[in-house]
Symmetry: C2
Subunit: 406 residues, 2 copies
C-alpha cells in the first residue's frame, strides 16, 4: 500500500462516549500502522455544543458572539485531548492542537467566521516526527488572537481547508450514515448509497435538504478540487466520493431525489406589473434578514401579476409581516401563505444532456395526483412545489422512475 497523507474528520456522534472515542482511536491507529500520515479533525463530543449553548442561554439569552465562541470552542478542545489520550493508550504517538495553536486564521465574524489563512508548519513538523496530529475542528482565531467559530458544519470546513493546504491525498468525513443516498432511506427503503457524486450535484443535494454535509465545505472542496470521502465511522465499508467529475459505467441522468418539508410558500397577488416592484419586495425581505429560496413570477396578461416565493417555515411569521407592509405601500392584492407544501427535487449532472427529464418528472407527479404549484430549475436540478400530502408517494415514484432503486 502506498504512503498517503490523509485528513480524517470525525463528527460528534462518532465521539459521543468513551467507547466510541476508543473506536475512533483504533481506526486512526490502523491507518497509521499501514504507513499513512494522519491529520485528524474532531468535533465536540456528542451533544456538548448544544449543552453549552443551553448553559449560555440560562445566563444571557443574547450572549455576545465573541464570548459564545470562547465558550463553544472548548467542546472541540476536550475532544482533541481525549482522542490524543486514547491514541497514546494504543501506544501510538499523537499530539493535539486547538485552531488557535495551528493558526487557522479567520476574519472577525464571530460564530460564522470565514477562514483567511491556514498555517501548516506545526502540523508538518509533528507529522515529520511520526505523530498523528489531532486538530480541533470548527474553530479559528482572528489576527488579534480572539477565538472564533466557523458556524454550522465548521468541522467539515476545517478538514477540507487542511486537506487543501496540506495537499492531502484523501479527505475522509466520518459520520453516522454510510454515505450519500439516492434519497432519504427513511422515506424510500429502496434508496441506494451513491458511490460517487460531483461537487455540483452534492451542492444541490445539500441545499435541497440532504443533511450530511453543509454546502459551505463542499463549495470550498470544489474551489480547490479536494476529493471528499463521506463514510460511516461505525463501518469499514467505503462511502460516497464527492469529486469534480464522475466517470460512470452507464450514464446516470438523475443522481438523487430530495424532499424539503420545512418551507412555506408566500404569494403576493395582483402585483402591478412594472419595473422595480419585485425589487422593492425582495430588498425589503433581505433587509429583514430573510432568506428567500424559490421565486416564481408568471408572464402577465393584464397589468397585474402574481409573485410567489418560498422561505423557511421558521421565518414565515416574520416574512408575512414584512411582505404585508411593503405590499400595502405598493398597492398589491392579497398576501397569502401556505405552509402545507413540500419541495420535491431531482438532481443530476446527466440531465444537462438529456432532454425530457422535466417532462418525465411532471408526468410522474401527475400520475400521483400531485398538482404542481411552482417549478424552478437549475442546470442540474428540477424542483417542484406540491401539496405536502403527496410528497412521499411522489418521491418513491420518482426514485423508481429514474432507476435509482435497488
Amino acid at each position: 500500500m502506498s504512503h498517503k497523507l490523509i485528513v480524517q474528520k470525525f463528527g460528534g456522534s462518532s465521539l459521543a462516549n468513551v467507547e466510541r472515542i476508543q473506536n475512533v482511536a483504533k481506526r486512526v491507529a490502523g491507518y497509521k500502522k499501514n504507513g499513512h500520515d494522519l491529520v485528524v479533525v474532531v468535533s465536540a463530543l456528542g451533544d456538548t455544543t448544544d449543552e453549552l449553548i443551553e448553559l449560555a442561554n440560562k445566563i444571557n439569552t443574547e450572549p455576545s458572539e465573541r464570548e459564545m465562541d470562547m465558550l463553544l470552542s472548548t467542546g472541540e478542545q476536550i475532544s482533541v485531548a481525549l482522542l490524543a489520550m486514547a491514541l497514546h493508550k494504543l501506544k501510538v504517538e499523537a499530539i493535539s492542537f486547538t485552531g488557535l495553536q495551528i493558526g487557522i486564521i479567520t476574519d472577525t465574524s464571530h460564530t460564522r467566521a470565514r477562514i483567511l489563512k491556514v498555517n501548516t508548519e506545526k502540523i508538518k513538523e509533528e507529522l515529520q516526527k511520526g505523530k498523528i496530529v489531532i486538530v480541533a475542528g470548527f474553530q479559528g482565531v482572528t489576527p488579534n488572537q480572539d477565538i472564533t467559530t466557523l458556524g454550522r458544519g465548521g468541522s467539515d470546513l476545517t478538514a477540507v481547508a487542511l486537506a487543501k493546504e496540506l495537499k492531502a491525498d484523501e479527505c475522509e468525513i466520518y459520520t453516522d450514515v454510510e454515505g450519500i443516498f439516492t434519497t432519504d432511506p427513511r422515506i424510500e427503503p429502496k434508496a441506494r448509497k451513491i458511490n460517487a457524486i460531483t461537487y455540483d450535484e452534492m451542492l444541490e443535494m445539500a441545499s435541497l435538504g440532504a443533511q450530511v454535509m453543509q454546502a459551505r465545505s463542499i463549495e470550498v472542496a470544489k474551489k480547490f478540487d479536494v476529493p471528499i470521502h463521506v463514510r460511516s465511522s461505525f463501518s469499514q465499508k467505503p462511502g460516497t466520493m464527492i469529486i469534480r467529475e464522475v466517470k460512470r459505467m452507464e450514464e446516470v441522468v438523475v443522481s438523487g431525489v430530495t424532499l424539503n418539508k420545512n418551507e412555506a410558500k408566500i404569494t403576493v397577488c395582483d402585483v402591478p406589473d412594472k419595473p422595480g416592484v419585485a425589487a422593492r419586495i425582495f430588498n425589503e425581505l433581505s433587509g429583514a434578514g430573510i432568506n428567500v429560496d424559490m421565486i416564481v413570477q408568471n408572464v402577465s396578461h393584464t397589468r397585474k401579476t402574481d409573485i410567489s416565493f418560498t422561505i423557511s417555515k421558521a421565518e414565515s411569521v416574520k416574512t408575512l409581516k414584512t411582505v404585508k407592509k411593503v405590499a400595502a405601500k405598493i398597492g398589491t392584492g392579497e398576501v397569502l401563505m401556505d405552509d402545507d407544501i413540500a419541495r420535491l427535487s431531482i438532481v443530476g449532472v446527466g440531465m444537462k444532456s438529456h432532454p425530457g427529464v422535466a417532462g418525465t418528472m411532471f408526468k410522474v407527479l401527475a400520475e400521483n395526483k400531485a398538482n404542481i404549484e411552482m417549478i424552478s430549475t437549475s442546470d442540474i436540478s428540477i424542483s417542484c412545489i406540491i401539496k405536502k400530502k403527496f410528497a412521499e408517494t411522489a418521491l418513491r415514484a420518482l426514485h423508481g422512475k429514474f432507476g435509482l432503486a435497488k
Copy 2:
C-alpha cells in the same frame, strides 16, 4: 471612594451554578459602578475539573500531561465566557481571555508549570476601554504555545501574579469561607476569624493543613509584597488580610492552631549512627518522589539511633516499601509505620519574642493525656505528633489556653 485597580479571584464553589455565577457578576459589577477597575480571575465551575479528570482516566489511566493540560484548561475557559455573558446581562462591559491569550508564559512542566512572565498589555488596553477583564485562572502557555496548568491552587497564583504585574491596589481571593480562622471551626466552634495575618504565619498555617490558600501563592505574594484579602463570595463582610506585618492592638503570641490528620509516621529503628546514613534514606525517598514532612532524630547514646519522619498518609505504602529496601542495605533494625497519629501545631509570629510558649503547649497536651511522640519547631510554629484520639480535645484546649476563643 478613591479609584482602585482590584484583582478578584473566584473559586469553583463560588461559580458552581447559574445563580452563583450571576451573584459573582453582581458583586463584580457593584465594584465597577463604584468606579474601580477590575481584573477577575476565575476557576472552573464547581466540580468541572474533577469530572474532566475522571473522563480522562476512563480513556487512559496514565494520560499525557500535555494533553491533560489541554483538557483541564477548558474548565476555566468555560467560566470566563459565562461570567462575561452574565456581566453583559447586567449591562456592564466585560471581556474574557484565556491564559494563552493574556500571555501568562510558563515553563514546560505540564500540570505544575511555573510562571516565567506575565504580559499585561491586553489587560491594560481593555481596562482603558472601561471593560472588566476576566482571565482564566490556573493556566498558562509555554513559549512554544502549548497550554499548561499551574497545579493545585493555580488560580490563586494567577490572581497574585496579575496583581503584582499590574501593581493592583488590592487582591481579593473569594472562597466559600469567611476568611482564615484561628482554628478549624468544625472542631472548635469558638474559632474566630482572623482580621490580619502575616505571610509567614499564613505559610505555616497553609503547610500545616489550613485548606484556604496554597502555600505557593502566598510565597509569591510574600516575595512581591502583594497584600491579599481572603473573603467569602457569599457575604459582604471583610475577611482576612494576609500582609507583611500586622500591627496589632495587643500582642498576640499565637495566631492559630492547626491540625493535620492525613500524615503517617515512619520510624527506622537502630540506624547505625554514622555520617551519610540519614542522607541515603532521604535521598532514596526524594528519588521516589515522596515528600517528607517532619524529621526527628535523637541524640544516640549507643552506636545506633532511631530516625522518625512523617509523610502524607496517601504515600505510606510506597514509602514503607522504599524505606524497607534501603534499610535492608544499610542494616538497620525494624521499620515501623503508625498512621494513627495527628499533627497539632500552634502558629504565631509573637512566639519569637515570647519564651515559654513551647512549655505551655506541652503542658496543655500533658493535661489532656496526650503523649508527645515527635516535636518539631520553626521560628513561628511548634508542631507535635500525638495519637489521633487526643487531637481534637487537645486542639480545643490549646485554642482556649492561648486566648484565641471568642
